[in-house]
Symmetry: C2
Subunit: 200 residues, 2 copies
């Protein structure tokens, strides 16, 4: 049994509870959209999905289907069950924020993943103390030697990932509103994405 298909509106965020054993399927509906993703222990907001702990746990920069993503307490939190895309994701780069857009020359308020994160968590009554470094699904920012390059996604419309909760979690997602750098495709046109929560 699955929940209804939920929309992450273009440039905005959304969060959902994913209970132990349930799976969240996150869909790149239009194929060129980066989705910043976070997770917290539903019962203890001090435990969160941590990219720096996951890299150490896996000895990998980019997790792959079959891997366990771990919390800041180094315990498996989300199991990366399935990935229909080519597996190009990012764990290196912070969520975009107002300072990012100011640095890019944007003079007015710009939607950003960090604010989307806090808003999405807040809509469920959660107020984390800070914004952890996200799992940037489909973000194509590989490191070549010591240089990080910023490229459009390589996935296609309808590609999805499936993450299974190892314990009760809140998962937050932001359809990245970046439209200055072509990280959401060469057209610089952020789009909506979708997700559904599935029974395990």
């Amino acid at each position: 049994m699955a929940s209804e298909l939920m929309t992450i509106p273009a440039r905005k965020g959304k969060a959902a509870v994913v209970r132990a054993g349930q799976r969240i399927k996150i869909i790149n509906t239009h194929g060129q959209q980066v989705v910043d993703t976070w997770a917290f222990n539903l019962c203890d907001m001090n435990e969160y999905l941590s990219m720096q702990h996951t890299r150490a746990y896996l000895d990998k920069i980019i997790p792959q289907a079959g891997d366990d993503l771990v919390s800041n307490r180094r315990r498996p939190m989300l199991r990366f069950v399935q990935d229909t895309s080519r597996g190009v994701h990012d764990t290196l780069i912070a969520a975009c924020d107002i300072y990012r857009y100011i640095g890019l020359g944007v003079s007015e308020y710009h939607d950003n993943c960090q604010d989307n994160f806090f808003a999405a968590m807040g809509a469920l009554g959660h107020h984390p103390a800070f914004c952890p470094s996200p799992l940037n699904l489909w973000m194509n920012t590989p490191a070549r030697d010591n240089t990080i390059v910023w490229l459009p996604p390589v996935c296609k419309a309808g590609d999805f990932v499936v993450l299974e909760a190892c314990f009760d979690c809140v998962v937050a997602m932001s359809a990245c509103p970046q439209d200055v750098v072509p990280i959401n495709g060469v057209g610089c046109t952020p789009t909506e994405a979708h997700f559904v929560v599935l029974e395990g």
Copy 2:
């Protein structure tokens, strides 16, 4: 004029105030010691040195002499002025913590960089809400394609780095107590390190 030479005891942490324009020289006294390093805005503990923002700012995994290390508000915080070593450092890996040593089979309490961080900050009256991902000076954990490997440092006794504060900061350091994995040299013998605060 310089402050006295300060010791970071083996397996322990220490923090110091570094005022705008002052420089902190961190010394790998015995040559094989990783020093986890953090910084906070002295006037606002919500602003901290951020590896995920620094990587995005520099388009590099490992910062080099001449680079500005930035805060979570993407403003230069520490200027990486000098590095006498070969420049092998790490920004990918979380500080070691009790969970790390439990995972390595250690059954009793083990000193760890995360607890050292909180203790060192606490000794100066600061109580950060969480432990940011550290700048791991001299830690040799390069990524080859997507695989992170754990190697001994390649520096020599007396190598040092110099970081200049762009605004008033608290800098915390931990002489990493890792003695299970040979990240502090093949002898797995953590040692003391030293630092001195210099006028700009």
